[in-house]
């Protein structure tokens, strides 16, 4: 699955890992993240992410 990188802080969202802190289970594609999900490192919104 496609990884996405935060253009603000460089964090990479890996669908295989999800985002446990925000209760996003492993296997969740970036497109399926809730609209109000934010970067766990810097708080940037989804539209700040680009495909890696």
């Amino acid at each position: 699955m496609q990884k996405y990188v935060c253009s603000v802080c460089g964090y990479v969202y890996d669908p295989a890992e999800g985002d446990p802190e925000a209760n996003i289970p492993p296997g969740t594609p970036f497109e399926k993240l809730p609209d109000d999900w934010t970067c766990p490192v810097c708080g940037a919104s989804k539209d700040e992410f680009e495909p890696e």
Binding site: S7, V8, C9, V41, C42, G43, A44, E48
Partner: protein
Amino acid sequence: MNSTYRAVRISENVYWVGAIDWNIRDFHGYTTRRGSTYNAYLVIADKVTLIDTVKAPFKEELLARIASVIDPRDVQYIVSNHSEMDHSGCLHDVIDATGPERVYASVMGEKTLKELFGERHNILALKDGDTIDLGNMALRIVETRMLHWPDSMFSYLESDGVLFSQDAFGMHLATSERFDDEIDPAVLEYEAATYYANILLPYSSLVLKLLERVGKLGYQFNIVAPDHGPVWRKDIQKIFDFYERWAVQKPTGKALVLYATMWHSTELMARAITEGLASEHISVRHLSTDANHRSDAAYEVLDAGALIVGSPTLNNNMFPAVADVLNYLKGLRPLNLIGASFGSSGWSGESVKQIETILRDMKVEIVGESLNAKHRPDEEMLSRCFDLGAEIGKRLKGKVRSGS
């Protein structure tokens, strides 16, 4: 004897109680030729509040300046707007010395301070829009994540119209003057731009959003009090306007030619490219990496529309100094540039392609063909360099005209 360190009153209820670092010349790779200050502020409210602290070796200076106004044990709240160590390095010692009732930071700030210094003190986390009640006045919190650390926040003292803006709107400048209107405006603009280019440039898209957001809050700004350099009380709108211009990075008719040279061949090429650019009335900054520091290159790239980089090939690589500056500039993520690479070599000539790859990574739109000269650039090669400069100049003028 009273201490020689005194506080400076900046508004009815606020004192500057920071420290002046006259001698610092290097700030993790950014050369600070005029030194710096670490600003901290004391709000004399029912709940006396200290905003930020200073770099660890300056703790006594901070405490002495506080003591020139009140007994440091009367500090009841400490607010940490920014966890970077030049503002938090002595935070725990200051907590021990003042014994405040509460210490505040942003959600990310609380996390960062714990990661940096352990859980020595309980720090209360604040969210965007929260207010700290100081009894007879209020401090409002504006989260500014990634400007320029995840923890960063502003705090705003409504009664005096003071924005405590941590690293935003600051500059590395050690002076005996505390206010913008006491300092040469050309020095202020140069140092504020250098600071923006070297520290805030990568977060320009967030700067624009923040300026819009802060504008909508409807706050009255009588004073903008950053964590470095002078306090703005006169030209507040001017520094906001500068930030907007620097963040947008609209192309201007200015080019930066950056290069190293070994036996003057790459230098001859750089000169020919510079002449070509100038023939199109482009304002050229011509910087050899031997004579200029990476933070000067960052300052020049801030409002440049073109970046042209050259290097000889040394042991199948670009010159170390060129790699240093390019790596630094890449991290600063300047926008809207066009450019090219060039160089000279005795045999294989890898540097030119290496530079071009980095420029492409930086999303620089490459103009023309990269040029590599074997040993010495002959007349034909120098003429191609001149033409490349002129071509970049023409393209740049077109971009400036179209405004994108």
